[in-house]
């Protein structure tokens, strides 16, 4: 499933980001492919706000559609 399909309040990890530049920028923000993340908010039709501890990042909806995630329990 993709990040765009994650529901608010769900926990997940990112399994694949296809764009090279986005992948390295995400790494700088603390988002690696094994990091546990939390969906803080989904702006309808807009960005997904994800959170890891105190770090929050807004990811545009189109970009979120290209990020593969796995839900975690």
């Amino acid at each position: 499933m993709t990040l765009a399909e994650v529901q608010k309040g769900q926990k997940f990890i990112i399994s694949d980001i296809s764009d090279d530049n986005i992948r390295v920028q995400a790494l700088r923000f603390g988002i690696s492919e094994d990091a546990g993340l939390f969906c803080e908010e989904k702006i309808p039709g807009g960005p997904v706000i994800i959170k890891r501890q105190y770090q929050e990042i807004a990811i545009g909806r189109n970009l979120a559609k290209n990020i593969k995630v796995e839900l975690s329990q």
Binding site: V24, A26, L27, R28, G30, P44, Q53, Y54, E56, R61
Partner: protein
């Protein structure tokens, strides 16, 4: 842009040590800078950018060394994703030591930069800032462990209360080369040998991380190890954090609750509207009317202009070409000065002041996230809200800020929309004055027409322009109370650089207009527009003059309508045309400079065509 050498931009006495302050955006760097340097600060523009580097001398207590301390733009890492990063990279590359300011609440994000600077082999000292906030959040950080993991000294600070600043200031000579992620199993030999060849470990690292500018400077190919290195670095930081953070409280402060409400559309949109209303009250009412009334009317028009005319006219008669050029209707010493300093400067400063509050409080990224959806439909992303908002202040200033957008395509769309459908504050006042007496119906027609044109133009450009716009990927920082001194300093620096950048453009614009008027070209253009104005737009022929005046100063155009007796429909049509018609000559010239001449001509003719097209349709419909 020239790469990697800052020595010819900043005056650095030989033999003095260069201390560079580096950190992520909004970590309180400027407080450290002010503490280090006091009031003797030099600000130099970085060529090719709107960015300034501040530098100053500094002598710690009981030390013999002379130090120069340099500030850098806040960045998440050293590379060249944008102008800020390129500037920070070049300043950091020149550093003898780095004071790295780290937000204790955001270790995961901030330590990436720390580890990268350590990997560059530059001596580092870490100021772990915002300790008060970390404590309030129940965050327990083992400082000794952090210091020994990183291999560099760590000093805890709460900069806004002044805590720890003195200690950091007096410890710059204790900076150390820390523990790198490179070892015999991981690219160490490659890095060492490259570092030896080009005689710089820092530059060698950036070449290995694929930085094209640093590679080019060294006549080398950028190497493809960026992701490998970034992953290793991220892994290392996560390990460090696991071992230094022992307690992790729940973030339930008031700030984080409000921050959350700002992002939810249900609460966020009313909050945004309230903010825009405040902006309108501050800039649109207070600055545009009260302040400009004093600066433009009372000071420049009533005192300054008669004074300067009194000096110049005895030497150069005002009727002569040079008299007109210097002190005439559009003169360099009269209109240009009055317009730039009396009208624009207060408005621009007002806008920058408001923007600085939005940025420093952390609200700006939340606005960007909230409006992202709307802006993606016209080929932009949420970050474009900054130039769009600034456009209501001054389109020239906003056009310059389109540089922050992620792709050329976005910059073209934003520039076009700014030139086409965003009325600047100089114009807004006059438009409001003309449309208000006509009643709500015409006001609604005007606003709706401009809005529809804006959305349609953006949607069409988004469809026809090749390529792909960039997506939003931004850090949502915690909400913090902005510091007035910081906000004022930002306002001052940005307003100053606006005047420096736009002032000459306004002067050249005035010069062109005077030449056009003196040679009769202005009248010729006005006459050639008459068939269009009378036949197509059903307006009196004098309106053509008004449209052309709008090129000189957009408010001139709108104000000119006052003297014509127009019906309500005619007024509405003219206002729509004036708004959509080419922006003022300064904004046009900025567009030519920011984009190439082909794109600028396309924007220019595109807005002529749209203005008269839409005006005609409206005249026909009403």
């Amino acid at each position: 842009m020239e790469c990697c050498d800052i020595s010819h931009q900043i005056d650095i006495p030989s033999g003095s040590q260069k201390i560079v302050l580096a950190g992520n955006p909004n970590v309180g760097k400027s407080i450290f800078f002010n503490k280090f340097t006091g009031i003797y600060v030099a600000v130099s523009n970085y060529p090719g950018t709107t960015l300034d580097i501040s530098s100053g001398m500094f002598n710690p207590e009981n030390k013999d060394n002379d130090y120069v301390v340099l500030d850098t733009p806040g960045v998440y890492g050293v590379s060249s994703f944008n102008d800020e990063e390129a500037v920070a990279r070049d300043v950091i590359l020149a550093a003898d030591a780095v004071v790295n300011i780290v937000d204790a609440v955001h270790l995961e994000r901030d330590l990436f930069l720390t580890q990268q600077i350590i990997d560059m082999g530059i001596p580092v000292i870490v100021a772990l800032n915002m300790m008060d906030e970390a404590e309030r959040n129940g965050l327990k950080i083992d400082i000794d462990e952090l210091s020994s993991e990183l291999g560099v000294p760590v000093i805890t600070t709460t900069a806004i209360k002044g805590e720890g600043l003195e200690e950091v200031k007096n410890s710059v000579d204790k900076s150390k080369v820390g523990n790198t992620i490179f070892n015999s199993d991981f690219l160490k030999e490659e890095l060492d040998s490259l570092a030896e060849k080009i005689n710089s470990r820092a530059e060698a690292l950036l070449i290995m991380e694929g930085d094209p500018n640093v590679a080019e400077k060294n006549n080398r190919q950028a190497l493809p190890h960026r992701e490998k290195i970034y992953k290793k670095r991220r892994h290392r930081i996560n390990n460090i954090i696991d071992s230094v953070i022992s307690e992790n409280g729940e973030n339930s402060s008031l700030g984080s609750k409000i921050g959350h409400l700002m992002l939810k559309p249900l609460t966020g949109i009313p909050m945004l509207l309230a903010t825009l209303y405040l902006l309108y009250e501050l800039v649109g009412v207070f600055v545009a009317q009260t302040v400009v009334g004093i600066t433009e009317e009372t000071f420049f028009l009533e005192i300054y202009e008669p004074f300067i005319r009194g000096i110049v006219t005895p030497i150069i008669p005002i009727e002569s070409f040079f008299g007109q050029l210097f002190v005439g209707e559009f003169g360099l010493f009269t209109m240009t000065v009055t317009y730039t300093f009396g009208l624009l400067l207060p408005l621009v400063a007002g806008f920058y002041f408001f923007l600085a509050i939005l940025e420093d409080s952390g609200y700006m990224p939340r606005i960007a996230a909230l409006v992202d959806r709307l802006l993606t439909s016209i080929g932009l992303n949420g970050r474009a809200i900054i130039p769009m908002l600034l456009g209501f202040g001054c389109v020239t200033m906003a056009t310059i800020t389109t540089r922050l957008l992620g792709s050329k395509r976005e910059r073209i769309i934003a520039t076009f929309l700014l030139g086409l459908a965003i009325p600047c504050s100089a114009q807004l006042g006059v438009i409001a004055g003309l449309i208000a007496p006509l009643g709500f119906e015409y006001f609604a027609i005007y606003v709706l027409t401009i809005f529809v044109v804006y959305v349609l133009a953006g949607t069409i450009l988004n469809k026809v322009l090749p390529g792909k716009s960039t997506d939003l990927l931004i850090d949502i920082p915690p909400l913090r109370m902005p510091r007035l001194s910081n906000v004022l300093q930002k306002t001052y620096m940005k307003s100053k650089s606006f005047i420096k950048e736009a002032g000459p453009i306004f002067a050249i614009g005035a010069l062109i207009i005077t030449v056009m008027q003196e040679t009769g070209m202005l009248t010729a253009i006005q006459n050639s527009l008459i068939p269009l104005t009378v036949g197509w737009l059903q307006l009196p022929k004098e309106t053509a003059t008004v449209f052309i005046m709008g090129i000189i100063r957009r408010d001139f155009g709108a104000a000119g309508l006052n003297s014509l007796s127009l019906t309500a429909i005619q007024t509405t049509v003219s206002l729509v045309v004036i708004t959509l018609f080419v922006p003022c000559i300064a904004a046009m010239m900025t567009m030519f400079r920011e984009r190439n001449w082909k794109e600028a001509l396309f924007i220019w003719f595109g807005s002529w065509f749209t203005a008269f097209g839409v005006g005609g349709i409206l005249a026909y419909l009403l």
